[in-house]
Each structure stands twice: as C-alpha cells, then as structure tokens.
Symmetry: C2
DNA sequence: CACATCCATAACCGCAGGTTATCGATGCAT
DNA sequence: ATGCATCGATAACCTGCGGTTATGGATGTG
C-alpha cells in the first residue's frame, strides 16, 4: 500500500494533540479536512486507529503501533531527501546555507569570501529560514548548513561551531513610554508583553523571552511571529517588546523602533550548524574551515 | 518535504528499467503519466534525477543518491504497515491467511480446525493473493501468513513450513489434440505454447513452465495470467497448455479442461510462509503449531 | 440551562493524476 | 537512402481527491 508522508504527519499530529481540532489548527488545516484524511488512512489500513469520544481522539492498539513506527519512515525519507539535495549541490557546485535574520552579522561576508577563495568555481546560496521551524530546512537537506542562534530545537542533532557572541538588547516601539529610559534592567521588564516565537520552538522561544532570567515569573505574550518582518511590525505596532541581539540595531534599524541596552540577561551566540547524520561533503568541510578561521580572528 | 511512496516506486521502476516506456508498462501506467510524475519529483527535490537521451533515462548523481536511499524508506513503511495490521488482527481476533489457488488442498480445513480448537474465539480469514505478486500481501502484512507454492519470489525473506508435496500434471483444453494420449513425458511438450505467470515472478514462473526440465530449450508463451480464473480460461481457450498440481484436477475440474499425468518434471510443494522480520504473534504461533501437527500426520 | 467543545456530514471548488492522441528526434534494418 | 521502430515530450481532456465553509448532534460544564 502507498501513503503520502503528509498523511503520516497528519496522523502524528492528531496522536500527539489528542484532538482533531487542535491538531488541525497546528497543521494550519480545517478540522473536516483532517477528519476525512484520518478516516481515509484508517480505511486504507483496514484498522481503527483512534477511539473517538466527545473529549478527543485516543489511540487504539493499532494506532499505537503505527505511532511507534512512523518516525522511522519519516526519518528514512529525510535522509533520502538530504542525500539527493547534497548530491545535487555537488553536481551544480552550489553550497546552500541557511540563516535566521542577520546570519553571522559582519562575519557573514568574510566567511563566504574565504570559502570562495578555496573554491572559486562554487557559488554560495543564502536562504532565509522561518524561525517557526528553524531546523526544518537543515533536517531535510534543503540547506547543508545554517547560521543559527543557539539554542534552537533539535539542536542535539547537529554539529555546532560557535562564531560570535554579542550582548542582547531590548527592542520596542519608538513611541513606547519606556524609551524615556536609556538603559534597563531586565528584571524591570518582567510584566511587559513580549513578542514571542511559536511555542513549538521550545528552548529557542524560551531564550528570547528571557525565561532563564525570569526566575519563574510568567511571561505575557503580546504576539507570536515567525519572520523578521512580522516581528518588526508587531514591535512597531506596540503589541509588545522583545529581546534582540545588539546587532539588530544595525541590521534592522527603523524609524518606528527603538533599541535600548539591557542588563541582567545572557548574551546571544551565533553558531554554524550542520547535520550529524552522514559525513559533510568536501565543499561543506571547506566552508566550515573558512568559518573556523574567521571565528578565530 | 512530503512524497507519496507511490512516486518513489515510480522512480525506482524507471531507474531499474532505464526507460520511461518500459517502466510505464511495468507499472500499468501510460508513459505520459510517468513523464509527468518523474518531472514533478525532480521539481519538488530541485534536482535533475535522470539524464534524458533518445535511448532512455540514465541516473544522474542525485538520482543515484535517491535510488540508494529509497529502499530504506519503503522498507520502513512496509514495517509500519505490518505493525498496524498485526495489531489490528490482535484487536479484532482475526487471523488473516493468504493463499494461491487451492491453498493446502485437503489439509486446509484440518489446519484451521486445529487452530480453532486452541482459540475458539478467533476467526481465520482466507484471502486469495494474485500470483502476479504472490508475496506482496505477506510483505505488507495484509496477511500474517500464506499458503504458498515454492519457489516464489523473495522467498528468502520468509520462514517456510512445508506442508505437502504432490506430483504435477499437465492441463489442456478438453478439445486439444493431445488429450488423445493418456500420459506424457514432459520432454515431448517442450514446443507447446505455455500459459505462464508474469515475468516479474522469476523463479515461480520458471518453475511452472518447467524450466528446470527443459535443459535450456526455450519456452513458447501462449498467454500470461495472474489469476486462477484467467488461467483456466486461457487454457480452455486453447492459448496453450500448463503445468498444474495434481490437485487442480479436483479443485479446478471443468468440462472444457482436461488434466493428464506427466512424467519427467519435479513435484510441487506447498508451504506455510510468514515474515522473518519481527516476531510472530501468539495467534500466528498457534496457527503454525496447528499446521505443523497436520503436516506430520 | 445555556454554552463551549468536539467530531461528523454536506455541498462545493480547484487541481493533481490519470487518460488518449500526436509529434519530433534518433537509431537500426532493409 | 529510406522507412520503421522506439524513445520522451506535449496537448487536451476527464475524474476524483484534498481542501474549503457551513452546519448539526452529542456531551460535558459553569
């Protein structure tokens, strides 16, 4: 029998969320569509996968069996995809590098230049990744390495090479009352609404709402964003304030946004990340070397 | 990225056959449909998988990378599917057993009876398998075990328990000139057209055209069939003659078909087959025990 | 008792995946 | 040299599937 891996992901979402409705919103899908798909999966397999009740969907025996075996399928496919994309990169002499927001700041260009010196016939393609699923492009091999801010979800699946560390500052609307102050203690901002990353990003989200400096003090979420532009707009809009790397003041300067230094919160580190599975290609190795040299300077 | 496993099988077929046209016929698909699908796979992956030429499709680097990783994906899915079906069988107390044509002849019922004695609350469901892909239902877990005639393709992936051996005879149209004779030497039939199984069935097909008794003498194919009914019709129709187990004369007696003893060709053995991967369920173990006892009698 | 929540159903729409028919290019055999 | 077979690409068309919105019915819950 054949399946679309999409169906498997649907199934996994329902199994994890426990209700069709929640899974549907998480998948950006309408609930009836999910109902149909799950039912179809059950029909094709000739098995009842969920026990329906008024309080949600509970896995049956066969459902649990599927849930256990699904990851192996999806992982195998991810590996296959990565293998193809890597080979394609090799064939067309293009190294695809992902980045979030400002990549490695002022070091980005020197790294690329150093790489180009070693491989003049290659091109480096930079691709922006959504921070809604920062490691997705890496896992599927869409990019071979990425400039990431640590921590990020599933970080343990990747090699990391730290490139730079910079203090964090706070970003707020230019007309915000707090812009009166020239500098802040983070502790004074605990009750401000924050612009946050999606909950699914786990440690990444926590880091950028300053969870480690809150001592359990709950956070108020002003908005949830997945892209630099959405993020800037939300801040300018006054939906809340946000922690940002100091370099944001250079790379994302706007008249409607003010950046202020903040104390009492850890710095932010940018690292180059690449998958642990498989061996890096020769070209990627050269890129890593280039990055290492530049980091040492 | 998501794929349908069907697409992967398409790709594999093209990679193996080397031309779209051949792959399309093997897949029972029109050539333009395949063209489209392969192109789409390439688009989705952003890679050229084949080098097109006037003499066919040759794998590129990325194509070869995919070809290598595909089996892992499909195997993982087969395992997942089997796990679900097994669990479903357990949950609904139904043991699904596949068979080709007459199953294990007169032993079928005693085996099932012996199983039912041990598990009165269970049902045994017999499902006919196409001999076009005799092991497919077994591999995907659609049935948990099957009565098979050995040899069959991918036989090495299964445990086998031999149940009975019977001589083979020759089947022909009732109005065939050869029905004059009462018994045959197989050597006298080498130039007769034979009704055969699809080429993809390998050793199975060879066995039933008596390849091992031909000493390299080529076979003339009168028709290719995948089902007992097609097979009987083709024989009755005079498209050719066929080797058959002796029991066919009992289980497939028809006025328009004559069965005659034949010498000089090996006997046929029926075995119970079940997958090597994974541990058989308790119910299946009981069934195997029942079969063992009955075979010993 | 009103309401929120959850899944199922119905009606609808666009597109993907299949079909047949046909074409142009190439290589092989007469 | 010419004619035929074979290969992949393209076009036009049809059906069904995967999604949508709107709505219903059942079951807890303030």
């Amino acid at each position: 029998m054949d399946v679309d891996t999409r169906l498997l992901r649907y199934f996994r979402a329902v199994a994890e969320e426990g209700t069709l409705t929640k899974a549907a919103t998480r998948l950006y899908l309408s609930q009836p569509a999910l109902t149909k798909q799950i039912r179809q999966l059950e029909d094709q397999l000739g098995a009842t996968l969920f026990e329906r009740s008024k309080s949600g969907m509970a896995l049956t025996g066969p459902g649990a069996a599927l849930a256990e075996s699904i990851d192996a399928v999806l992982d195998a496919w991810d590996r296959a995809e990565r293998a193809v994309r890597t080979a394609e990169s090799e064939a067309s002499k293009v190294l695809r590098i992902g980045f979030l927001a400002s990549a490695a700041n002022e070091k980005t260009q020197p790294i690329i230049a150093a790489f180009r010196e070693r491989r003049p016939d290659w091109r480096v393609e930079l691709r922006q990744a959504s921070w809604g699923a920062p490691a997705a492009a890496l896992a599927s091999g869409e990019v071979e390495a990425a400039f990431m801010r640590v921590p990020f979800p599933n970080q343990e699946d990747f090699h990391l090479l730290e490139l730079l560390t910079e203090p964090r500052c706070v970003a707020m609307a230019a007309n915000h009352a707090l812009t009166q102050e020239q500098t802040f203690a983070f502790a004074a901002l605990l009750d401000e609404p924050f612009i946050a990353a999606p909950a699914a990003t786990g440690a990444f989200r926590d880091h950028w709402i300053g969870a480690e400096a809150r001592g359990g003090h709950p956070v108020k979420i002003g908005a949830i964003t997945e892209q630099p532009d959405d993020w800037l707009t939300a801040i300018a809009n006054g939906d809340g304030i946000a922690l940002a790397p100091e370099s944001a003041a250079r790379y994302y300067a706007r008249p409607d946004i003010a950046y202020r230094p903040v104390t009492g919160v850890a710095a932010s580190t940018v690292a180059l990340a690449w998958p642990r599975t498989g061996r890096p290609t020769a070209a990627l190795t050269d890129f890593i070397t280039a990055a290492t040299r530049t980091a040492d300077r």
